[in-house]
Subunit: 204 residues, 2 copies
């Protein structure tokens, strides 16, 4: 595999997904840190050479750049045990990864960022007006995950896949900022412990 | 392949992605229609048997159910010419599909739904407050696409992939409701014509 460089912000769960995937697979990856809070992903240099979308993470593979955390995880894990061999299960893994980006991250991750890093007093009026809806939608996403995990150890199949890694990243820090209480979700809590017990696991 | 049934709403671009994928591959699929506007995806029957997330589309494969439009497209196209053989390109295709669900659909598709189907007068105060931000973010997504297409015919590689299908669905109807004007994006307009000229293409 060509040289891997992760352009990241260490406080971002989206970046952590890629680092956890690499760690579970024993892949080496150089990391370069940028601060989202200080606008370091919106500089002309970053927009021109790393990602025109102004977002991290971006996985650099040789001289090519791959934005979007879930796509980067897929690149690293392609052909490995973290992606199911079965055709339906492979698509079902992606189903949970798209669910994470659409239903989970914009609520669970955004509230953590707003409340634990930006600070409630620094939010705009528009952001403040969105907090109650994001709490409801985030709890709905966690409830759906908890129901799914009530009868199974992993989101898809019989072992850990990228679906678990993608959903683990922001779920295991969901309580930061105070918007969510994981004690309401016992099946999630048991699953978080299973992920953290995987050989090669690294902390955020 | 097992029998395919698409649980869908015909006004939804997310459902159309799956129908266009099936059409380009020559796959037969039964369709069952539900009205999102009339709450038909929130009935106990739908939540218990089709999708606990209360959303369409859902692709039924035999007796298994696969939510999330992009995952359903991946299932149908797995092993076909619509997914690149090259490892980086395959991940890069997913990169655009995640971009579509995170940066494009919540802005471009949501404004179309609110303005062309719900009606501006029927929006809640919170929804009305979100319209200006969604216009800016939707235009940013379209600009990024237009820049990318300025020097290439397709989003990834040298022929149509699921990335083009996913982005085509809501882009080609982006003007419905009046929030977006595609005449500002000439490279997008040329690409829309290329997609519509593909053998097997079906209209929404």
């Amino acid at each position: 595999m060509e040289k891997l460089v992760l352009h990241e912000d260490p406080i971002s769960g989206n970046c952590y997904k890629i680092k956890l995937t690499a760690a579970l697979l024993g892949l080496r990856m150089e990391c370069r840190a940028y601060s989202v809070l200080h606008g370091e992903t919106r500089t002309p240099q970053f927009l021109n050479f790393i990602n025109p979308n102004g977002r991290i993470p971006v996985l650099q593979v040789g001289d090519r750049f791959l934005p979007e955390s879930s796509a980067a995880c897929f690149y690293l894990a392609d052909g490995s045990r973290l992606i199911p061999d079965d055709r339906f299960d492979r698509a079902d893994m992606l189903r949970w990864m798209f669910f994470e980006q659409y239903n989970h991250e914009p609520n669970v991750a955004t509230l953590r960022f707003w409340l634990a890093f930006v600070g409630e007093d620094s939010l705009s009026e528009l952001q403040k007006s969105l907090v109650p809806g994001k709490k409801i939608a985030g709890d709905a996403a966690l409830k759906l995950m908890d129901d799914h995990l009530a009868t199974r150890n992993w989101f898809v199949g019989e072992s850990i896949t990228l679906a678990d890694i993608a959903l683990y990243a922001y779920t295991h820090v969901a309580e930061e900022g105070g918007a969510f209480d994981l004690s309401f979700y016992p099946s999630i809590s048991a699953w978080l412990a299973r992920v953290a017990a995987e050989p090669g696991y690294v902390k955020m």
